[in-house]
Symmetry: C2
Subunit: 594 residues, 2 copies
């Protein structure tokens, strides 16, 4: 289906917005009046710019407080409308959005509303313009889609139809099934937006917290199915008011937006997206470091062995159980200190996984990496992390480990089985995008969002994972933009005996994060432990949590650059990530080393 986006959904000047929408691949735009007013371009220049960019102008918006008003007010409104219709002709836009009135002058009289809207439609028709009438959720007398549709029906003019908006319909809890009763030719336009569930004034909710479909909690796909059943074939158009997007760069936001529409079409069974290829494990995590010694020492203390050396690049392979870490000291290592730069995802069908990622607008990375022999399909996640779709020792698929010459050293049996999860802090403006990306591109399930109190602000965390927990990624975001330099990343290693793993780590010279005694005093008040158990945790800095399923014991290494490791013992199906303990961990990480 054709895709469109309202200019109010993106940041910047009108030119920047249009350019970003076109580059992302949108077919059209809704032009928001304020964006036009603030633009130095004439309507004709805007029309030409859109044509050059391959964008249609699908809607001009909005007209407000038009209908169901006293005659003299309506006469003034018509005069205003005439102005705007002239402008729309210059712009080459043929549909105008009229929002249901919020004016204190409006009266509760559907017949009057219909009569005046018909008059407006007649005026519009003379200019070749169609009027799409939409019920605002906070409209004074008209605030449900079916009410707006009834008035449109009563007005009975071919140039008058309705505009459906998923936010206005779902935020009020209206049943979207009735959409199927609206005559196809009367559905002039469809605006789509999602939103998190917030118990707040619907106007504020709408103006500040909308998000792209799939990023919130509204059943936008369910609504779309009803609209398609009603025979609608017009554009799917995003209209999102959001305080974060207002500040975000227009380019990435437009890509995020279009990705949400592609995912939405898949959810309702239209479009041609390759089916998801869900990863079956973390094949490797790649650290880029300017300073190999401390990183190697840390891996060694954790029980890893350097088993391979890349044949063409300064990259070492370290292994332990199913956990594999690449240590890259190549040119990229000059930039940012130690960072987690890439993740290998064990994938049943790497080629198809990459095709799906590309169809979902993920930037595809060059397949041949330096002088390696094995072609690897890879894309960049929104935060820049490189995601490799790969296979480890599986028949019929190229093995990425083939690029590594064995050092002769063998990985030893140890306490670490593999990777429990990765935790990646996202750029502030791209948190919702990251969640949608990992869900859409990798087919991961999304868990609830969790707030965590850091001593210097509130962090948000949201995990994505496979149903069996083979891949778990905790996406996090800091309290404010500009803190991106503090973007911590960590690798949680799974063990069946965190006490033994912590002891071995310490014996090998590793340093664990110190946890305050007050924390253990509180644990003693909250849980019952065996004799000496709590003292042992305290000695090692092991944190403890418990949910309805089981227990979680975990401890942390010191941080190297942006990266640290966690040792994790997850018992009896514990489902979380120890968020309860995060404030204590964060405070300890902020504390001056000593």
């Amino acid at each position: 289906m054709r895709t469109s986006i309202a200019t109010v959904s993106l940041s910047g000047s009108l030119t920047e917005k249009l350019t970003a929408a076109a580059r992302a691949g949108f077919d059209g735009v809704e032009i928001f009046e304020n964006d036009l007013l603030a633009s130095p371009l004439t309507p004709e220049q805007i029309r030409d710019l859109c044509a050059d960019l391959g964008l249609s102008i699908d809607l001009y918006q909005p007209m407000r407080d038009m209908e169901a008003v006293p005659d003299d007010v309506f006469a003034r409104n018509l005069r205003r409308a005439e102005h705007k219709f002239r402008l729309m002709r210059r712009l080459g836009a043929d549909t105008v959005l009229v929002c249901s009135s919020v004016s204190p002058l409006a009266v509760d009289d559907d017949a009057l509303a219909a009569r005046q809207l018909r008059r407006l439609a007649e005026l519009a028709d003379g200019s070749g313009i169609r009027v799409a009438y939409e019920a605002l959720a906070w409209g004074r007398h008209v605030n449900t889609y079916d009410h707006a549709a009834r008035i449109v029906e009563a007005a009975d003019h071919p140039a008058l139809g309705t505009c459906l908006d998923s936010f206005h319909i779902l935020a009020r809890g209206s049943d979207p099934k009735g959409i199927e009763d609206i005559p196809t030719e009367k559905i002039f336009f469809l605006q789509l937006a999602d939103a998190p569930l917030l118990a707040m004034d619907v106007l504020q909710w709408s103006r500040h917290y909308r998000c792209f479909p799939g990023q919130g909690a509204l059943d936008v796909a369910g609504l779309l199915r009803h609209v398609l059943n009603a025979g609608y074939t017009g554009p799917l158009s995003l209209e999102v008011f959001n305080d974060v997007f207002r500040q975000a760069e227009a380019g990435p936001a437009a890509v995020d937006a279009l990705r949400s529409l592609i995912t939405l079409q898949e959810a309702v069974g239209v479009g041609e997206l390759p089916a998801p290829v869900v990863p079956t494990g973390i094949a490797f995590a790649e650290l880029v470091t300017p300073d190999v010694e401390p990183a190697a020492a840390l891996l060694h203390a954790l029980g890893f062995t350097r088993t391979g050396r890349h044949r063409g690049k300064p990259v070492d392979l370290w292994e332990q159980g199913q956990a594999r870490v690449l240590l890259n000291t190549g040119p990229a290592a000059r930039r940012d200190g130690t960072v987690l730069a890439a993740v290998g995802l064990e994938t049943p069908d790497p080629v198809r996984a990459a095709r799906r990622a590309e169809a979902l607008l993920a930037p595809v990375l060059p397949r041949r990496r330096a002088t390696g022999d094995v072609l690897l399909d890879a894309v960049a996640a929104p935060d820049g992390t490189e995601l490799f779709f790969c296979a480890t020792g599986r028949p019929g698929l190229p093995d990425w480990k083939g690029d590594f010459a064995p050092t002769g050293e063998q990985a030893v049996d140890s306490d670490v089985r593999g990777v429990d999860h990765l935790a990646l802090t996202q750029p502030w403006h791209q948190f919702d995008e990251a969640v949608l990306f990992h869900r859409g591109v990798l087919g991961l399930d999304v868990q609830e969002s969790v707030d965590v109190a850091d001593p210097y602000g509130l962090l948000r965390s949201r995990a994505v994972s496979t149903p069996d927990g083979a891949v778990r990624i905790a996406l996090g975001v800091g309290p404010a933009p500009g803190d991106d330099h503090e973007r911590a990343q960590h690798i949680a290693l799974a063990t069946d005996d965190v006490v033994a793993a912590a002891r071995r780590f310490r014996a090998a010279g590793g340093q664990l994060l110190a946890v305050p005694g007050n924390y253990y005093d509180d644990l003693a008040a909250r849980f019952t432990f065996g004799p000496g158990e709590l003292e042992m945790y305290q000695e090692l800095g092991i944190l403890y949590d418990r949910d309805a399923h089981g227990a979680f014991r975990h401890c942390y290494t010191r941080t190297l650059g942006r990266v640290f490791f966690e040792l994790v013992q997850r018992d009896d199906g514990y489902r979380g990530y120890g968020a309860q303990n995060a404030p204590v961990r964060l405070a300890a990480q902020h504390a001056p080393a000593g």
Copy 2:
């Protein structure tokens, strides 16, 4: 009265929080459990640190989900309480906060609640501890202060009383008058917080949007009067959960917090604050600039004349009507480009104004400025702007202009009468503080907050002014922290004929901000103008607005450093600042110069 603050209201480690509270001048603190758990200090070390800082520990908080539960759950709760009472003894804290239960296990049984709270109080009493029971606004069965007080009365134990919290009481719309019916000895503690009026879930509202008294819309002073009438003599304690304060530096936030309590005490007639000295005008605005030529050229084109030269510093006085601008090219000018660094406030009693400012914790600046002869009382506003309390040619008061040697040039009659208003963008974390500062220190009235859409984010603006409009300051804030380098400041000059003033400015070589033609097309649709009027506005870049009182015509100079000027014609009692036009102005300012 004694003042106190909950550690959760400030950012940082527990040590940072305690230090900030003590430095600001608080008498005590409430220690929030999570702050203690995350601290590497033992309870004894915390007790000693508070003693060294001169802080009492007025409350330990909170205990949750304690009462009205089945016997086995209550037995576990008592065990937990025993742990915490031991901790409190080590800490030297004698009052614990118990919040009304939100547990699904709690039953609606006041008699059971009273019995269990009495048992808890007996246990506490044995440790010399008092239990303060508070109704959370979202408590499962107990969510009003009078309900909590009834249960306390029924429990009838001297170690059990109630804690009143202004947020929980006022957010639910409870009538605080009933507080006077609570026996004095049963009011153990008073927590104060304000909040903006937000129609949202009360738990979210409470956890993220509280603010200090006087910064929100709740009648905290009215509530405090009832509490004082009830005979309460304990501390006034601030408990504020706020996402902004969580990120703000603890030091300034603690000062802001204590200022709110001082202002609150004045509002209820306790404390000894010198009465406000409301300024009667803007005496001068001081620009600091590293590059005198463009600034002088701009002032000249605006019609200003260089009438004086400071006797001891590289500062020139420029005058026109009652508008005066100081141009400072001294050492400070090396730092930030052109900035508005100081404001002279025409003040009936400069010495008393400064005394009040100091009592309200404004940093006092040295009275003798370089080699000037005139002593000037001055303080720093939260954004660092220096505020001078001064007199211009008033008998019996030193005249600041005495420090300036006349150049011999005379200010000419022109179109500018004086300063209409100043607009000062505030650091992101200090917007609410700035509003409270200008209200409390200068006795200005506060107008409604206005949201303005900038192409790159949402700005917020709130004006403070004298009732007669002689002093008007529009305080603004950007969309996010980290944008502080874009902190625009502007000086709006009042004229009776903005068209003449704009023409004269252009004729003198000044450049006005270009306003898009689309804006005028829209004006034509919205208002009726005389023949040629709109074309004249468009030619000059004059913007137009109208409110219920009158009309507003205004235009802008190009920006120099962080500073620009506005020419303003305010007719027939127009009350606003042209916020309606701000998006167009902001877009034009973002546009590449050309």
